[in-house]
Symmetry: C2
Subunit: 204 residues, 2 copies
């Protein structure tokens, strides 16, 4: 069992940890993943390299936690707990609300710049891409799976639908417009995706 | 008016052109976009740098044409003309056929490796990303727009649907699974996307 640190030490290390996250995210956004180093993160955060290696084993580990923290901060700023999706009983309204919050996050430079650097690396670096998808992206997608399963229980979604595929009808178009800049991103756009995904484009 | 070259010269320059395309695609797949140079492409193709500059103004131009050529070759190999989508009158069957052919292309290393290198660069290099989307990706997406408009004329798609958004319901999920490796790619998967996109996931 690890001894509980004194309050002052906890506060100090929490401050260092946040400085290291900020340094890692800003650095990867500026120079890209391949040129980001633990040394560079340490220098920018104003800590010794050993401070980083005490807590993390690699730059990928630091960045993974920095992005997890960024996601939690964004969720709190948007006024909801991280790792949950609203369930008001109105599936369309709930999905639209979550996607609108995602639009806000995607166009926020604090999120966008480092996230693009990481996403670009993940496209060509299979190991990194798979690790970040497994630890960052897939857990978020599973929240949609949970919400769609609840909707199947209430009859708002057909029971024969695979929720893991269904969520992609509204999540992936937004992701592609953001990643590849294939079109503008707006609330109207994501609202439309939800409508089409729920009801299809063929005559009802 | 330009004089028509003698047949031998045409054949020679067609051969050089193809060698340059192959060199550009293999090089970008191996070293990534930033480290690909006109000099490197020329060396690998066995031509002088000036031969490349006679036809193209930059490595981006060479790559753009190489990818256009690759797409045309793939279309011919799949047994259809490039720049058209089938219209048998059965929208679901036509979309499934095109997406199955896209699956084949996405998992073909000759396409996948250079395309990943270019897509990764486009995520962080806005100018390049926008140029390649405008010249390579958007023209392909417009073929879906045309097919969905034809389906609106026959009543297979509702008249109030925006075809440019609707196509993303089946194209973007496949694109994201390929780009970010968020899930396996198969014919069953793309068939399911078409079904959900046409009929939605809510009870009919």
């Amino acid at each position: 069992m690890v001894n509980k640190p004194a309050p002052d030490a906890t506060r100090r290390s929490e401050k260092s940890r946040r400085a290291i996250y900020d340094a890692a995210l800003s650095l990867v956004g500026e120079v890209g993943y391949p040129k980001t180093t633990v040394e560079g993160i340490a220098a920018r955060a104003g800590v010794g390299k050993q401070t980083i290696y005490r807590w993390w084993s690699s730059k990928a580990d630091v960045l993974l936690e920095a992005f997890l923290d960024l996601g939690e901060q964004a969720a709190k700023a948007a006024g909801h707990e991280p790792y949950t999706l609203p369930d008001t009983g109105d599936l369309a309204a709930d999905l639209k609300a979550v996607l609108r919050a995602t639009v806000d996050e995607l166009v926020d430079p604090r999120f966008e710049v480092p996230s693009r650097a990481l996403a670009a690396e993940g496209v060509v670096n299979e190991q990194l891409g798979r690790e970040f998808v497994a630890k960052l992206l897939e857990p978020q997608l599973q929240l949609y799976v949970d919400r769609l399963r609840a909707a199947q229980d209430t009859g708002a979604v057909r029971g024969d639908v695979d929720p893991r595929i269904a969520l992609e009808l509204f999540v992936s178009p937004l992701a592609q417009r953001w990643l590849q800049r294939t079109g503008p991103i707006s609330y109207d756009y994501t609202d439309t995706l939800v409508e089409y995904a729920l009801h299809g484009i063929a005559p009802r």
